[in-house]
Subunit: 423 residues, 2 copies
C-alpha cells in the first residue's frame, strides 16, 4: 500500500486526554481514533492489524471444529430475564435502549443467552453433540470509567466461543483442546513468553475459571506466577488452600501486574437449565447440555501487544500481527531517481507477493517528506522490517535494511532483496 | 466443509411468523436466525454468503482508492446536535442509550457526522484531497414495523462510502466513478439485468439522489423504468418537469415494483459547514469540503438476491455469491462404498482448490440421511452445482452433475470432475 493513499496522518504529539500508553501510541500512529472515552474507531492500519489477529484466532477456532456465526447486538429482554441477568443489579454494565413500541432491549455484553436459546432448534439428541460455535462480535459494556485505552472499552470486538457437550467428561475434553488452542494463539501473536494460564474465580458459574494473563505494568490485575512451570493464580483467590488444590508451591510464586487477555468459564448447565437446552440420551432421557465459554477481546489483545513491545520511539509489532511486513522508505532526492527506483522495488515486492505462499505486504512511504519525518513515522508505526532507499546507497546498487525492534542495520544489494526477505 | 460439522439444521417448514419470502427461505435453509422482528443473527451459511458479497464490494471500493475503516456504534450526541440530526423529530428512527453518568448516546444509523469530525484532524490543505473512506458497519434503525425480513432490518450490516472533494467538479468526477463501481457490483452479484440507476429525491441534501433499484415484487418502491436505456425515476418525484430535466421520454417509462439496493447522495457542504471540515486552497482561503455518501445494505442485497432467484424448491444463488460452489452429495448405500468414494472426491476437490487460482469450495453432504432429505436440503440451500454420487453410477465410474437453476442433469466420469469444473 502506498502511504500517500492513506488519508489518516500520524500526530507529532500523543493526545493529551489519554493516560494509557496503548491509546496514546495507537492514536498518535494513526491506528485508531477516539470517539469518546472507551470508544475507538479503527483506522486503516488498526483495521489491518485487527484482521491479522482475527485470522490467527479464526484458524485456531476452526481447528477446534467450531462453526462461525454472528449474533446480533440488540438483545431480547425475555431471554435474559430467564437467566436472571437482565437485572441491572446482577449485571451492572448493561447499555439498554427502547423500541418505538416501548419494548426495552439490551445491547449484548455477552451472548450466552441468545446462543443457548438458538441451539434449542438444532440440538435434540446426543447425536447432535458436541457442538462449538464462535463469533467475532462487538460487545457493549457500560463501564463507569474507561481510562485504559483499547484495553477496556465500552464498545469492543470480542471473539467468543461457546461449547456444548453431553457430559462433564466430554466438556473437559473440549476444554483441554480449547486451552491448548489459546496457548497457541498467544504464542502466535507474540505474547507466549509473557502470557500465563492463571487460576481465578469462577464467578457465578463454578468455583474456578481459567484466565490467560499477560505480564505488563499496564495490567489491572495482580497474579502470582511460577515462571518455571508456567502456571499462576489470581490474587483474588490466593490462599494456602487454593495453592494446595492446584498443587502450587507458594514459595515458587511471584506477584506481578498482568492483564487478562483471555478467559475460559465452565458454565455447567446454568444456561441450558433455565433456557431449556436439553438433549435426549440413548435411553431417551432429557439431559441439560454442559456448556463452556471462551473469550478473547481483540482490542484488548491488540492494546496489550502495543504496551508489551512499545519502546521510546513508538510501536513495535511482532511479525505475525504487524499491519505490514515491510516499510519501504524512499528518501528525498533532487532528481526523482530514488523515488522511481523505490517504486520499482515496490512493484517487484508486490508481484512476488502475488505468487509467494507467504505474501509479503509492503507499506511504501512515497510521501513528499524529509528523511527525519519519514523515519519518525516509521518508528512510531512500528513495522518490523524497514527498507530504506537513499541516493548514496542507490548509487552502489544497495539499500539499507533496518530491524525496528533491535535497530540493527545492514546493507544489501537491491537484486538480493527478494531472496533476503523470502529466505 | 462437511455438512455434518455444521450444527445448524434446515427446517421442514417455513417459520410461521415471517411474511417475507427472503426471511422464510433463509431461516428455513439455515442461513439466518431471527432474534426478534427485524433483527437476525447470521449462521455459517449466511455468514459465508455475506463475506462473498462483502469481498465483491470491497474490491470495488479499493479500486476507487477508498480506505477501509470501522467506525463505532456508540455516537456522541454533541456531533449530531451540530448537524441538527440528534432531534428525534428530524431523525425518527434513532435508538438511544445512556452512559452511567447520564450522558445520552445514540446507536449509529449512519456515520456522516463522526467521519466528518474525524477528518478535521487529517484534511487541512487542497493537497490532502480527494479522500474517500468506506466501512462495513452495523447500522441501527428503530423502524416502527419490520416485516421485510433482512431487507429492512432494525440492525443490519451496511457498506457506507464517503467521499471528500475540493470542488463540485472534483466531486462529480468521483461520483461518476462510484456510480460505475456500483453498476459493476450489482452485475457481479448477479442482479445486473434487473437493477437500474433511478433518479430519486435528494432529501435534505440536494434536489435529487441516485438510487439503484432492483425490480422485484418484494420491493416497497414503485419506479418507472426505461428498459432499453437502463434508466429510471422513482414514483416519489415523477412529474413531467423531472422527466424533462433528465431527458426521459415519459411514454417509454413503465411502472414496476422495486427494492432500493444502493444509493448515492450528493451531500454538498452540509456536514463540512456545520462540523468545520475545511481545507486551505492554493491562495490560503478556507473552503468547506464537498461530500458524497454511497450506501449498500449487505443484508438487503442478500435478501434481494434471495427473492429474485428463489423458486418453489428454495434458494438459488448466483455463482459469485453462493456460500459454496459445489454441493457434493453422497447417496445412502448398504456397504459404505459410496461414502468412501465421495470422501475421496471431496479430498481431491479440496486439494485442487488449494493450488487453483479460483478455488472451488465444496459443501460435502456426508450426513446419514436418505436421498430425499438430502435432495430437499440441497434444493433449499441453493448451491449452483450439485454432484451426486450413488451406488449405480459409481459402479460405472460416473457421477451426476445437476444445475440447481435449470435442473439440467448430466453424467460425467469421476476422473473428469476436476477438468469439468475448472474448464
Amino acid at each position: 500500500m502506498k502511504q500517500s493513499t492513506i488519508p489518516f496522518k500520524t500526530r507529532k504529539d500523543a493526545p493529551k486526554d489519554e493516560v494509557s500508553l496503548n491509546a496514546q501510541l495507537l492514536i498518535q500512529a494513526g491506528f485508531i481514533h477516539k470517539e469518546m472515552s472507551g470508544v475507538y474507531s479503527m483506522l486503516p492500519l488498526g483495521l489491518i492489524t485487527f484482521e491479522k489477529i482475527k485470522t490467527i484466532i479464526r484458524d485456531e477456532m476452526l481447528g477446534l471444529g467450531a462453526s462461525e456465526v454472528s449474533l446480533t447486538t440488540l438483545q431480547d429482554k425475555n431471554l435474559w430475564e430467564k437467566s436472571g441477568r437482565w437485572n441491572d443489579e446482577v449485571v451492572d454494565n448493561w447499555f439498554k435502549t427502547t423500541l418505538k413500541n416501548g419494548t426495552e432491549l439490551g445491547l449484548g455484553f455477552s451472548h450466552e443467552e441468545p446462543l443457548t436459546a438458538m441451539l434449542r432448534d438444532h440440538i435434540s439428541s446426543y447425536k447432535d453433540l458436541p457442538v462449538s460455535v464462535f463469533q467475532f462480535q462487538t460487545k457493549f459494556r457500560n463501564e463507569l470509567r474507561a481510562k485504559s485505552g483499547i484495553m477496556r472499552g465500552r464498545e469492543f470486538l470480542m471473539k467468543d466461543l461457546y461449547s456444548f457437550s453431553s457430559t462433564p467428561e466430554a466438556h473437559a475434553e473440549f476444554y483441554d483442546r480449547a486451552k491448548d488452542a489459546y496457548i497457541r494463539i498467544f504464542d502466535k501473536v507474540g505474547l507466549g513468553k509473557v502470557t500465563f494460564p492463571v487460576q481465578s474465580s469462577g464467578g457465578s458459574f463454578s468455583k474456578f475459571s481459567l484466565e490467560f494473563q499477560t505480564i505488563t505494568d499496564a495490567g489491572e490485575d495482580i497474579i502470582y506466577v511460577d515462571h518455571d512451570k508456567k502456571v499462576g493464580i489470581n490474587k483474588e483467590i490466593m490462599s494456602d488452600d487454593v495453592c494446595a488444590e492446584f498443587g502450587f508451591n507458594k514459595s515458587d510464586l511471584k506477584g506481578v501486574k498482568a492483564v487478562e487477555v483471555g478467559n475460559i468459564f465452565n458454565l455447567g448447565t446454568k444456561y441450558s437449565d433455565v433456557l431449556g437446552l436439553n438433549y435426549k440420551d440413548e435411553s431417551g432421557a432429557r439431559i441439560p447440555v454442559v456448556m463452556g465459554c471462551y473469550g478473547i477481546g481483540i482490542g484488548r489483545l491488540m492494546g496489550t501487544i502495543a504496551e508489551v513491545f512499545a519502546d521510546a520511539k513508538g510501536l513495535v509489532w511482532p511479525k505475525s500481527v504487524a499491519p505490514f511486513d515491510i516499510h519501504l522508505i524512499a528518501l528525498p532526492d533532487s532528481d526523482g531517481m530514488v523515488m522511481s527506483a523505490t517504486e520499482k522495488i515496490y512493484e517487484v515486492l508486490c508481484d512476488s507477493a502475488k505468487s509467494a505462499k507467504m505474501p509479503i505486504n509492503v507499506l511504501f512511504d512515497d510521501r513528499e517528506l524529509g528523511a527525519g519525518a519519514k523515519f519518525a513515522d516509521a518508528d512510531l508505526i512500528g513495522i518490523p522490517t524497514r527498507i530504506v532507499v537513499g541516493a548514496k546507497s542507490l548509487a552502489e546498487g544497495k539499500v539499507e535494511i533496518i530491524n525496528r525492534q533491535t535497530g540493527e542495520a545492514t546493507q544489501i544489494n537491491i537484486t538480493d532483496i527478494s531472496s533476503y526477505l523470502h529466505g
